[in-house]
């Protein structure tokens, strides 16, 4: 796992353009509104998590105080505040998914990856997270990897997905704006 702290913290030219475009969407003086969108891009670009240094950088781009960024980053569950694996698997655990066996899916993943929910595999490949209802309950059980939803999960479907992720060297933190 690469640590963001070892490389210079600066968006690529492309992302920087994107950030400027996002800021222009809000009225003048309201650039703070762009904070969540920009944090999504930052998390994607800097290894899938928000280090204090990355948050400070975002603060400087938006001309706001670092504390304003920390307050927000700690509130929203999609933001990771500690390093994660290349491929973050987010399994829904809420009622409708539970009615359709999400407990079994989570248990199966924990066994296969040999970690508990919330942890990262030793090789830095996978992080397993449980999340709340993903608005896909009709196709339960459900998990999300990057922007993609995987629905109607079974343990064998999960096995296949894990094999594919391994074979492809899946990296789930890519810029979500495409």
């Amino acid at each position: 796992m690469e640590s963001s702290n070892t490389k210079e913290i600066k968006f690529s030219e492309e992302s920087l353009e994107m950030v400027k475009g996002l800021i222009r969407r809000y009225p003048e003086g309201r650039q703070k509104s762009a904070l969540i969108p920009v944090l999504h891009i930052a998390q994607a670009e800097f290894d899938g998590w928000l280090s204090p240094a990355v948050m400070d950088y975002v603060a400087s781009l938006l001309d706001i105080q670092p504390i304003e960024v920390y307050e927000v980053a700690t509130f929203y569950t999609m933001f990771n505040l500690t390093p994660v694996g290349n491929c973050v698997i987010e399994v829904c655990r809420t009622g409708p998914c539970w009615l359709n066996g999400s407990d079994d899916i989570i248990e199966h993943l924990e066994k296969k990856l040999n970690i508990k929910a919330g942890q990262t595999t030793a090789d830095g490949m996978f992080t397993l997270k449980t999340v709340e209802c993903l608005a896909a309950c009709g196709n339960a059980p459900v998990m999300q990897v990057g922007v993609k939803y995987h629905e109607h999960l079974t343990t064998s479907k999960v096995d296949q997905l894990l094999d594919t992720f391994r074979a492809e060297g899946m990296i789930s933190h890519t810029n979500p704006y495409t």
């Binding site: 929203y76 009615l99 309950c137």
Partner: protein, 435 residues
Amino acid sequence: MGIKILTEFIDLPDLNRFEVYRKHGGYEAVEKVLKNDTPDHVLAEVKISNLRGRGGAGFPTGLKWSFIDKSTDKARYLICNADESEPGTFKDRYLMERNPHLLIEGMILASFALGVQQSFIYIRGELFYVLNILEKAISEAYAKGFLGKNILGSGFNLDLYCHPGAGAYICGEETALIESLEGKRGNPRMKPPFPAVSGLYGCPTVVNNVETLASVPWIVKNGGEAYSKIGIGRSTGTKLISACGHLKRPGVYEIELGLPVEEFIYGEEYCQGIRNGNKLKAVVAGGSSVPILPANLILKTAKGEPRLMSYESLQEGGFETGTMLGSGGFIVMDETTCIVKNLWNFTRFYHHESCGQCSPCREGTGWMEKILHRIESGQGKMSDIDLLADVAKNIEGNTICPLGDASAWPVRSTVRHFRTEFEKHLIEKRCPYIK
């Protein structure tokens, strides 16, 4: 087949593309309005239609729009609430993914009626792929002159942008949503002032659900009068129901309001009954927040009348024997379900999602989760059942936003209707559903 207002063309391939939407009557309502009508005319049609908010509360849309403060020269905003995070609800995702232009058209019409020049779609961050579909559709609408400056030569200007959340159920609450859109934590605001007076950036703001706004083009095209004739009584029009749980055919269905619940659950056109031929045990009819009802009370009211899918019929019997239409998230449980575990799961959700501002909600949801876990795992005491109901009662009505109530209603209704299941756990000192 009932009338389809939102989903008539939903299965057409490429409906998300401008030309395809346009070919099937898309943007005709905008053309009609911008050529011939005044904003007040659009507002009047929506009022006549009796359209009610589809986000959960069922507040009359025309009335909400009429509250927008027109006495200031501040900017006005329209925000589409696409946060869709209420467990059991997945209708807005379906609509936006398949028919993004319908929402855009509805937002143009609503913005025109409200005198808004800048609108946002606040969409939950997990749905980034849908955000990208919407942004593509928005740029098509700009390119064809339906968004931007001087739309169709009418002098009306409108900018429309998407804004992602980042994982927080509470941001579906409209004032939390506004805070979040301002780049802050999603802490609900005290009301008043209401958003219609002081919302986004302190300006008059209307927040409406995706489905509400997507109903507006039909109303404008066909007239509010025609819409008001669909449905039953004060529940006019159609509603998207997202059905899930132990059904043979879960999914999103557009129903005419007034459809009997029994037909919805068992009908060939709809959910086709319970999986594996099992027996129906309970239904949460309007998203996780509304009271749960046992099979007998969801199919028939306490008076023995058939229960209908309408605001009024689902409420029949009040909190004692009724429930609510809510968001239309219809969660069905069969006879194999441990109702106590289901409740523990929901309560854990509310505890996890509490923003923490008010102590009854922050602490109460945590206590309830703990007590339920204790009961479910067979380690509780008989007095825990009343303790649980007591904690719930103390949250209700004592918080800044309705999330507190939303956490209490499932608890109080489950204890009311399924008390013996709690007792069974306590007597057997284990979950009777684990084989």
